[in-house]
Amino acid sequence: MTTAQPEVPVQELDEVVIRFAGDSGDGMQLTGNQFTNTSALFGNDLATFPDYPAEIRAPVGTLFGVSGFQVRLSSNDIHTPGDKVDVLVAMNPAALKTNLSDLKEGGMLLVNTGNFGKRDLEKAHYSDNPLDDPSLEQRFQYVPLDLNEATLKAVEGSGLSNKEALRCKNLLALGLLYYTYSRSLDVTEKWLEGKFGKKPQILDANLRALRAGAMIAENSELFHTRYSVPAADLPKGTYRNIKGNEALAMGLVAGTRKADLRLFYGSYPITPASDVLHSLSRYKNYNVYTFQAEDEIAAVTSAIGASYAGALGMTGTSGPGLALKAEALGLAVMIELPLVVVNVQRAGPSTGMPTKTEQADLLQAVFGRNSEAPMPVVAAASPGDCFHAAMEAVRIAVTHMTPVMLLSDGYLGNGAEPFRLPAVSELPDIVCNKATAADADGFLPYSRNPETLARPWAIPGTPGLMHRVGGLEKEDLTGNVSYDPENHERMTLLRENKVLKVAESYGPTEVFGESSGKLLVLGWGSTYGAIRGAVQRAHSKGLSVSQVHVRNVWPLPQDLGEVMSRFDRVLVPELNRGQLCRLLRSEYLIDATSLPKVQGKPFGSEELLAHIEEILA
């Protein structure tokens, strides 16, 4: 089926932000994902922000059980899922209550009135029915609709029970929005066929609901306008809509393939990092071995074992799990084997708010080990960038024979964006420092490559290179145990310098905007999009603001001090209490201004713009 001819006028929009909100059981993540994919294939640029409760299935209708999915589609180059929303779909009172404040004045409010019974209202702690509020009509483009009834009608005769039938109501809502935003139903229809191919009854009901939604929109008088958001002018290439965690897994696989190594990923499930394990465990035909360990310590140590045995060992977790790996990471530093440690950060401290995002593990990543145990740290900037950051982590680990920390966060990991797939030829080459039987004569396991200070990787099984490694201080060159004071200082410096030398392999720091000026907004990690959006808007207001976004957060780029010195002020927005800012201050003695936020949610561009304007006022 193709959508019917429009009878209402179609208005072209630059962009729109839509949020689907409903009960955890209402299928909002699915709905949002479908809208996203359809828009992606249509050619919009987009960004998403799924936000779901910690509970697996919270009791129906409760406030803490609300699940939301926000998608922003645009005909421009965008970087965040947007601050306030243009369209809110509220499937029940709890969803209305927890989301209404984010709807723009004049925005579209689609409410499923079928779920506003007395029990529903009570569960959302409403004493009166909020839909009785006459101001809704005035403040918003208010569209009340009994989706339950409409769904039951659409699916009538399908043979499904009422309960089963009602499960299709999210597709009805989706159909409504597809029509309103001039989208074809094709993508979702195809997807449904793939998914329910073997359950024709359910497939039929879902298709009917989807189409009914579009019909209702077309025929009813509920919608006065249709909109369209034209395709964006994205750089040429092949695109794929991808979540950060998927992109990260893909980057790890790509990097390991480029290095021609076996990939071993030892991990223990933890939100929001588990999806990396899940993704990798599907790549079995890429010489990928996943190991669900008994805990985080076994996860990292099994990975160290794998690297010792000649694979590229990797491990992944979130903040509390990283804390548990700290001791073993010291061992990895000491034995100087490659290792990639993924940390998809979440809000803390302790268990904190596991499903919420934060960037507060930076200092843990840089300093959270006993004694002097330096380690490079790489941070991804966007869902798609997780791919490139992962490759960078692999490159550093393998080239420099060192553990590397790769920082992502819940916002990146679960968020999605169109990702331009690099050509195979664009991927960096990654060369291992392996020793072979030919090196047996006078082999020194702690000799060093003069350029990188990397030691040779002498893999068990190789004749003639037998040697012993371990966590005790090593003698320079031989790797034997040594308690010699001078040797200890020399080795400490060698480990430090080896990590500092990684900075020699970075490209020059890129400045977005003028290369000097009044204000530099310097960020790292997932704040990239929000900062870019804010700086772009600031530019359009003629403000003297530039952006630097640090990918290699440790060691910091060698030209960073010089770049910062070209600006009157440096502002450092972070989803923590000022951790990168602390590093910048201590490294460069620069009076950088911290802009901290710890609310378990990302910055909005408007919010950052306001700060920029304030500073420049």
Partner: protein
């Protein structure tokens, strides 16, 4: 040497150039000697051995073996060895650990490696004490012992390492003694031949902090009467003159004549008899079993993992970078 020939080694081929740093008289010396002898006979090219340890006196072991060696961190050797074995199943992976390393801080990794049944061999040097940290009691210390951390006597009930291993489902469980080198070598050879995880408790004397802890079992004078060597398929007889036997009843163990002795079976569905034997009897003064408590065949995890990877690869074809980047729903912008 090419890896296809069967290498012929002498003990000295497994002696590394590092000075041995245990206390004079430590039981670890005898074990080192026994292991070096045993390794020379296994027919494995020496570069294929990876000897992996945690932290403790015992865990310095890898330094003294002229093989690949990894002296890791406290308690984690079984987890590290798991990664080694999955990443590279060709290696002959041996773990050396102590009662503190394996059963205190490392207990969880040990029991998980046991249930997973990776083909790694664990030698636990049980001296019933923390040697390296100067003599605190361990999870196998006999209660009442005065140690630096228990000046008024220790109170914790100890683990029975064999019982723990059986409870965790280890497919090979054995016990031997530091000074009984022929027995030790026999057990190591059996462990090596076993397809799967092998757990070997080695009673080891710490001359400094717990001297003579096993004297009542292993002392030259008493050992014939106080030990029974479990051999699969053989009757449980013991005594200097092999004049005594053990018989299993539904609820206990009895001492009997050699003729009446039960034939020891190390396999069987549950290991319940091994579980009974390792704890002894309440009614009779039975000897302490050494030898083979349990050996059953069950799937080896790294074999299964590699088989799964191979079967998926066969089905889907070997993954290329092109395939990786081209997967999923894509669209073109031009």
């Amino acid at each position: 040497m090419s890896t296809t020939e069967t290498p012929t080694y002498k003990k000295k081929d497994f002696v590394s150039d590092q000075e041995v740093r245990w206390c004079p008289g430590c039981g670890d010396y005898a074990i080192l000697n026994g292991v070096q002898q045993a390794f020379a006979t296994l027919g494995v090219p020496k570069e294929k051995f990876a000897v992996i340890s945690g932290i403790g006196c015992s865990s310095r072991f890898p330094y003294y073996m002229d093989t690949y060696g990894f002296h890791t961190i406290h308690g984690r050797a079984p987890a590290i060895a798991s990664g080694v074995k999955i990443a590279n199943p060709e290696l002959d992976v041996w773990v050396v650990t102590g009662d503190g390393d394996a059963l205190s801080i490392g207990g969880n990794h040990l029991i998980h490696a046991m249930r997973r049944n990776l083909n790694i061999k664990v030698m636990l040097f049980n001296n019933r004490i923390y040697g390296l940290t100067k003599g605190q009691y361990s999870p196998t210390t006999v209660p009442g012992m005065k140690t630096p951390s228990t000046p008024y006597g220790s109170l914790d009930a100890p683990f029975n390492p064999i019982a723990v291993a059986l409870g965790a489902g280890a497919s090979f469980v054995a016990r031997t003694v530091d000074t009984q080198i022929p027995h030790l070598k026999e057990i190591l050879a059996q462990a090596h031949a076993h397809k799967g995880f092998a757990f070997i408790e080695i009673l080891q004397n710490c001359v400094i902090f717990n001297d003579g802890a096993f004297e009542h079992i292993v002392g030259k004078e008493v050992r014939d009467d106080h030990q029974v060597n479990l051999r699969h398929g053989e009757p449980m007889v013991y005594g200097k003159e092999l004049d005594k036997g053990l018989r299993l009843t539904p609820n206990d163990i009895e001492i009997c004549s050699p003729a009446e002795a039960s034939v020891w079976k190390a396999d069987g569905p549950t290991g319940a008899n091994a579980f009974r034997l390792c704890q002894g009897s309440e009614t009779a003064e039975v000897p302490v079993p050494i030898g083979l408590f349990r050996q059953v065949e069950r799937p080896v995890l790294e074999d299964q993992i590699h088989a799964q990877v191979n079967s998926v690869t066969e089905k889907l074809g070997e993954g290329t970078l092109e395939a990786l980047l081209g997967a999923g729903e894509t669209w073109d912008v031009d």
